[in-house]
Amino acid sequence: MLPPISGVSGISASPGVSGGAKPAGFGDAITKGLDSVANIEAKADGLVSSMAAGKNVQISDVMAATSKANLGMSIVNEIRTRGLEAYQSIINTQV
């Protein structure tokens, strides 16, 4: 059985930004998202294990849990991609 995805260690907010408030921390947001997805996945994992072990588990509950885990992962991944795109467009700014 695969271990649940554990949250990545937070990407530290860039220290080079001077002045103004400390940025909210995109890395922290992604880490939080991954943590909550890991929780959902752990639940789904437990249900799948129970079903495979022949315990009395509703198939629809397993499917709901796995669908939620899948959707949660998609959402976090999309947000990561959007954030990365924003970063890339700033990095590629011509000066």
């Binding site: 499917m63 709901a64 939620k68 959402i75 795109e85």
Partner: protein, 138 residues
């Protein structure tokens, strides 16, 4: 159960799937016992009837459905004259089950169609959420 969240439609249709699965199981039990005879005077086999209960009716969204109770059908059992039957009483009668096969077949269609309807809601909710995640793509 609080179901306000991104996956509430999945959770609610899941309760519908669970309820209709329970209903199907009950119908299977009733149809399996459609020939269960007993000696008059003993408790006859009685068809189980599932009663539904809506969940979270005091919230704006609602929370789906649950089984509130399972009751026995309350009709009189049919008496059949069958003196050769080992279950027959002194007068030669055996007691039939309290279950109407035609009614159970009708319920079977209802239960399986309800299950499919909830499955459709589940799939549509999942697909809608999946497509929503792609909204941000440029």
């Amino acid at each position: 159960m609080t179901v306000h969240g991104p996956f509430s439609s999945i959770d609610i249709s899941n309760t519908g799937l669970g309820y209709n699965k329970y209903w199907l199981d009950t119908i299977a039990h009733n149809i399996a016992n459609v020939n269960t005879q007993t000696t008059p005077g003993q408790a006859p086999f009685r068809a189980r009837i599932v009663e539904a209960m809506p969940l979270d009716t005091n919230t704006s969204l609602g929370g789906g459905i649950a089984v509130s109770d399972v009751v026995d059908q309350a009709d009189d059992p049919a008496m059949m004259f069958d003196p050769g039957n080992p279950l027959a009483d002194g007068t030669g009668y055996v007691q039939g089950p309290v279950v109407d096969l035609a009614e159970q077949m009708g319920n079977l269609i209802l239960a399986s169609r309800s299950y499919q309807a909830n499955m459709t809601v589940f799939k549509e909710a999942r697909d809608a959420l999946q497509v929503t995640t792609t909204l941000g793509r440029g």
